[in-house]
Every structure is written in structure tokens, then in C-alpha cells.
Symmetry: C3
Subunit: 299 residues, 3 copies
């Protein structure tokens, strides 16, 4: 893949910039309260796929203008629930929730992913725009809500998979089964956030400073393996031991593994240069990905 020129991709609903190995995605629909429509979903899927494959990208931050009415007010449902699903046929089995597409695209991205929630967030603004990310930074005053049971539907965007894993079922119930509106310092949700900032304007700079430090001092390949082990652990401690032993063996013998030991002995910060496209083994990824396409059967 030749590296894309992010400024030339013609995105309409998002603004994308790459600087210091950090790709920043700005939701650019302030006049629509940064709601999700079909266009932004399509652009989000594209940008996270590109970010995953572009070696120059070591971290991705999703954010919004801190002066916008909201970080993301959910799906634009003025035309009904259609935005929530995507179909390749009229068959009702073929429908796929577009929020879930977004969640999976972020979750699969092998780079550091950060959601900088500098405004209110509802529905997909609290699910796909936050839960599949590695880290969440939030404004203390943000109103966060998972309104599904108060809107006639069930939780979308794989929130029922991600939220209990992130926080445990007690807190997930308090959020997903009530549809209540909370702020990040609520005991129901505060463990979701890596950092909570007092003002909207501090959120993105804090996320960016965090990303810059981590990007400068961590290995792109290590991050991908660590994410893989966390997302796809063994089913038992023994199976996990087989997986992480294999991962460590491969990484220890890699350029970054050697630099790790060398810099330690020389009492200096490491300088990791290995990249995911250079790094190919028969081991990674060790999990199988379920195909979610609708499989039409001919009769």
C-alpha cells in the first residue's frame, strides 16, 4: 500500500490530519450536533481501516470541536431507525447494525486508539464512538447516555459485548438497562475513563499529549500483540501461556525486542523502528474472525 494523503481523500463528515504519527479524526457535523448519518459511518470505516494498515500511524484520536453542541448526539433518526442497519438484500436476516460496523472497525485497528470525548454523548456517541477504543478521555461535564430501552430498541454497536467486559456487569446494568444520563465522574461509569478533565478545551490536548508520549516510547508491533492478547486471550491460563510464550519468543528476537534490551543496558530510552508491515509471521493473528456477511443460500 502506498501511504495515503489524508487531506486528499475527500472526506465530508470528518476532518483527518496526520502529525507526529498521530492520526486525528475530527467529527465535522457540528451543525447537526455531530450525529451519525450513513456518510460518516462510511468514512469512519474507511479511515480506521487505513489507519490500521498505514505504518506511519501509531495512534488514532477521535474527537470533535470543543465548541460543538455535542461530541456526538447519536444516530440521526429523523428519517427513522434506518441508519441503524445496513442490508445487502430485503431479507431481514441480512440487516447489520451500522454502529456495530463502526465498533468492529475501531476494535480491529492495531494501533493505539483514543476517544477524546469533549462534549455530550448519546447513543452511538457513547457506544461505537467510545467503547471499542483502548482509552477514553472525557470532559467532566459531558452528559453521557445509553438511551436504548427508552427509545424502543435494544443496545446497539456491540455495547452489550464491550461494556460488561470493560466495567463488569453491575455497572453495565446501571448504564444499559436504565437509559439514565450520567457524567463521567458518576460511579457507574468513571472506570471507563483513562482521564477526566474539568473543561471541554482540555480534553483533546490531554489525549494528544498522552498519545505523543506513548507513541515515542512504545513499539508499534508490541502494541498490536498486546491488544491481540487482551482481545483474544486463551480460554484458560494454560492456553494463554501458550499464546503469550509464543508472542514473547517472536518479539524478543525481533528488532524492537533487541532494542528493548540494548536500551535497558545502556540506560537510555529505546528507539523502536519495527513496523507491522515489516513484521510477518505465521502466528499473528492467532484468532479466527467470524465472517458477518450475510450468506445467501441458493435453493
Amino acid at each position: 500500500m502506498s501511504p495515503p494523503d489524508y487531506s486528499a481523500l475527500g472526506f465530508k463528515e470528518i476532518i483527518v490530519t496526520l502529525e507526529n504519527q498521530i492520526l486525528v479524526i475530527l467529527i465535522n457535523r457540528a451543525k447537526f450536533r455531530n450525529t451519525f448519518n450513513e456518510g460518516i459511518v462510511t468514512e469512519m470505516l474507511q479511515i480506521f481501516d487505513l489507519a490500521d494498515r498505514d505504518d506511519r500511524v501509531r495512534a488514532v484520536i477521535l474527537t470533535a470541536e470543543h465548541t460543538a453542541p455535542a461530541f456526538c448526539s447519536g444516530a440521526d433518526i429523523n428519517a427513522g431507525w434506518d441508519i441503524l442497519w445496513k442490508s445487502d438484500s430485503q431479507d431481514e436476516h441480512a440487516h447489520r447494525d451500522s454502529g456495530g460496523w463502526g465498533s468492529m472497525a475501531v476494535y480491529r485497528c492495531r494501533k493505539i486508539t483514543i476517544s477524546a470525548v469533549n462534549g455530550h454523548a448519546a447513543g452511538v456517541g457513547a457506544t461505537a464512538s467510545q467503547l471499542p477504543f483502548d482509552f477514553r478521555f472525557a470532559w467532566a461535564g459531558a452528559k453521557i447516555t445509553y438511551p436504548f430501552v427508552r427509545r424502543g430498541i435494544s443496545p446497539e454497536a456491540t455495547a452489550t459485548y464491550l461494556l460488561p467486559r470493560l466495567l463488569g456487569h453491575s455497572r453495565a446494568n446501571s448504564l444499559l438497562l436504565t437509559g439514565a444520563t450520567v457524567t463521567p465522574t458518576s460511579p457507574y461509569i468513571e472506570a471507563l475513563y483513562h482521564r477526566i478533565l474539568p473543561t471541554r478545551e482540555e480534553v483533546f490536548p490531554a489525549a494528544k499529549a498522552f498519545a505523543e508520549e506513548l507513541v515515542a516510547n512504545s513499539s508499534q508491533v508490541d502494541i498490536a500483540y498486546a491488544k491481540g492478547l487482551l482481545q483474544h486471550p486463551g480460554d484458560s491460563i494454560e492456553e494463554n501461556h501458550l499464546l503469550d510464550s509464543r508472542a514473547i519468543r517472536l518479539l524478543a528476537a525481533s528488532p524492537d525486542g533487541e532494542e528493548g534490551v540494548k536500551s535497558f543496558k545502556e540506560r537510555r530510552l529505546p528507539k523502536f523502528t519495527d513496523t507491522l508491515s515489516n513484521h510477518t509471521t505465521s502466528f499473528y493473528p492467532w484468532w479466527r474472525r467470524l465472517d458477518v456477511k450475510h450468506l445467501r443460500t441458493k435453493l
Copy 2:
């Protein structure tokens, strides 16, 4: 099913009332410290099964008199451990822990379930009477204990399944492996509680007010689907996406889904009227329930 008259069911160990779509179950054994005997287990299984199937019921609250010596002091073991198991034969493989029966009955109830812990709780008063519920409200002064390893047995009532899922294994160890007595504000257990109230008399009213608001503004069918997705998620993010996509597709096209969009556009509170017995699909439930009956094999 014709709707039952709860006042005419002849319960002895519990008092049951249905008001404003909320079924209140009061443990009526204050003179026995609200301990569980065989009678109350039988009545609890019956009432949670009825609550699950009666469309008029949208929430269930379990509580006790706030003047009783305890919310529930555990199983009545004056006659030994027999209360803890139920058998349909002398075969030791046939024994089933009755606390586990209680936990499963509550866990399977598709309505909002709330435990209002307005007094001390031990053993089954801390397991089946709390852990399978969606929400727990507690008196800050309640003494809570999981005494099993100090009583010669192992944790019962599926607590080893439920508690780590609710709180994570670190906190579950601190509770189940120590048998220590804690109060709800202890860091080991506080994440278990949706709300902690300063006095015994405030616990039930707080739970009831919470239930009334939620019942008035949520969909019975949505709650059942949300609980199903939380209890029976996919094994991977992809599998969860297939499940929640299907659920959303069905619900969005349902009467409550249409009312959800309509009320949103009309900027008013929704009025959900769909009920579980009206709502039948080949999709829900999507999980298989393991049969726990003892299977006698003839030789």
C-alpha cells in the same frame, strides 16, 4: 395465562402486591430473622415465574420489613444443611442447591428486578437474594457476609458465577474467599450497589421510585432484549454484532420501536405499549438453556 390475583395465591412466607406495574415481594419471616426455609424457596420460584409471564408486571422488587432483625439471615440450618439441596432421588448426583434454583428463577425473569436490601444479609441473603437481580439498593449499615468457607461448605446459589461477572475477580475473592462481613460502602462490594441509602427506611422507597420512573419510560420488550444480550452475549465482537443487529432490526420495526422514533420527533416522552406475550419471533430467545434436571439412566 389469565393474570393471577396475587393476593389469592395463599403465600405464607412472602407477601406479594402488584401496584403501578411493580410487583413487590416482602419476605415475611421477621420472627425467624427472614431466613430461607423450604417453603419460602418454593414460593420464590413460583412468584418469579409468574412475574416473568404476567404482562402487567414491568418490575419486581424483593424487600423485607425495615424493622425486621435482618433483610435475610441466610438459610435456616437448624436442621442441618438439607435446605441447601433438593433431590428427586437418593442418588447423590441428583442433589440440587435450592439457592441456585432461586438465583436462576430471578436471573431468568425478563422484567426489571431489584433487590432492596434494607437490613443485614448473610449467605443466601447475600447470594440468591441479591446477585441475580438487575439492581441492588442497600442500607449503608447493612452487614453483608458470604460465610461459606467459615461454615464448612463452598459458595452456593451460583455466587461463583455471578459475583466475578458483576465485580471482577479481585473483589469477588475478597468477599467469597474470606467470609468476611462488610458493609455496602466497603471498597470490596460497593460497585455491587446501584444506590446506598443512609437509613433502613429509605431503601425501599428509593427502589420503588427508581422502578416507577423506569417502568413509565421504558419498553417491556426492550428490557427483555437488553437483559438477554447482557446475559447471553456473543462469544466475540462479531458474534455479538450478529445478535444485536438482529435484535435491533426486530425491535425497530415493532410498535415500541415506531413509538420511540415518533416520540423523539414530536419531542415528547414515549408511551410504550408492546408486551412480551404479544411479541413472538423465532429469534428470541437465541440461547439454549441447559437442562439441570437429574437424568436417570436405566440400566
Copy 3:
């Protein structure tokens, strides 16, 4: 097995003492910052296996001198990453992370296990030396770090299995994906600790007092079953019900189960005398252990 004389086992890297049914393991490498080398790994595997099988042992505490430079500064990597894996051949598939060996030995030990972290902890000092234990006590000033992604490798010692189960994925990400240094009162990690003490010298005595009380008042067999149910629960609430019903049935009829009821009725503390080597059933353990040995195939 005839009970070992722990003072005569010739350990070099650890000092082991058995007193009041509590086995104390002191990391004895203060002049090397208590780093792990091949010798200490071998000794740790041996001692946890012995502790598991010796009926006289009811609890195990791992600690270090509170005047040492660190509780454990990780693996000794002055000779490179070799310490991290163990092989029985040159085949790269045969490598096994030695930290994972340690984690599994502790995790499988059927007695109460406590890590008394009375100094700084990095790498294996924060993984195998803490995560597989039932309880962790820590000095509030201890610097704790999981530095892997900043050292050129991925997280080892089954940390990617254990840490998310203990704390949930949100906190596990904040620790394992950042490589940041935190202290025990950090919100990222505090739920990991059963108790946090203000000074280094208070950590071990607090852990010992906790162990003494628990050992005196709990059943050795109950603890083993409770740990088994927590580590190997059912895949569903129903399957867990089958497991804990069977466990309770067996334990209720055991000497400790009878003493539990008897002491309750006599309003006195129980005196449990049953031991794991006396207790044999066809039920325990109910799980299968994956063999992690390298299986050489002849062609």
C-alpha cells in the same frame, strides 16, 4: 508424601519458613533488586508445588525484605530476554515463558495465597508475583509497572489473561497498554489490592495477621473448592448450578461440613480438621488441565 523440612531444601534465592500453618516465602535477592533469574523461578515452582500438597500449609505469603531496594524489579535481563522463556529444544514452538510457569504454579496452589508487596514492583514483579495470588497487600508508595510495550516485548506471565479478569478491561488497558508506572492508590490499579498500607514495614505483618485469622477459622477443603469454582466456573448459570450443587452436597456431608453446622448451633467458632489429602472424590477437580508441554512429532 512425607512432609518436607522446608529449612533443609537448600533454596538459594528464597528463604522459606512454616509457622502456624502459614508458609512464608521471602525473595532473597536484595542485592540484585530481587530480580528473577532462572534459579528463583525453579525454586518458586518447587515451593508452590510443595505448598499445594503439604496438608500442614493453609496459606502461603510471598514477600521480600522491606529494606530491599525493591519487592521485585522484574526479570534479570542483563543477559537478554533468555530468562523469559524455557525450552526443551531448539524448536521455536517449544519455548515457554518462565513467568507463565510461575503464574500457573501459584494459580494452581489450592491454599490461600497472598502477595505482600512491600516495595517497588516491575515486570514479573507485577505479573507472576502478584496477579495469580488470591489476595494482594501493598505499600502505598510502591511503584508498580508493566513496562512490556516500552521494552520491545508483549505482556508475559499470563497477565493478559489474569489482569482483565481481576479488574475489567478498561483498567487492564490503562496498565498493560501504557507501560506507565503507578502506585497502588491509582484508580487504575487500586481494586487489585485487598489492603494498601502506608509504610513498607506494615505490609507483611498485615498480610500475616489476615492469614492467621483466616487460617484459624476456615476449612482447607472449602477454600480449595471455592477457588476451584471461581477459577473454573460453569459456562452458564445452569452449568455453574450443577457444579456448586455437587460441591455443596459433598462438603455438607464431610467432617468440616458437619462441624460447620454443629458449631453454628452451639454458637461457637468452628474447628475444621479435614485436609485435602484425606478428601478424595471423583468430582474434584472437575476441570481438565491443558498440557502445555511441547509435543514433538516425529516425521
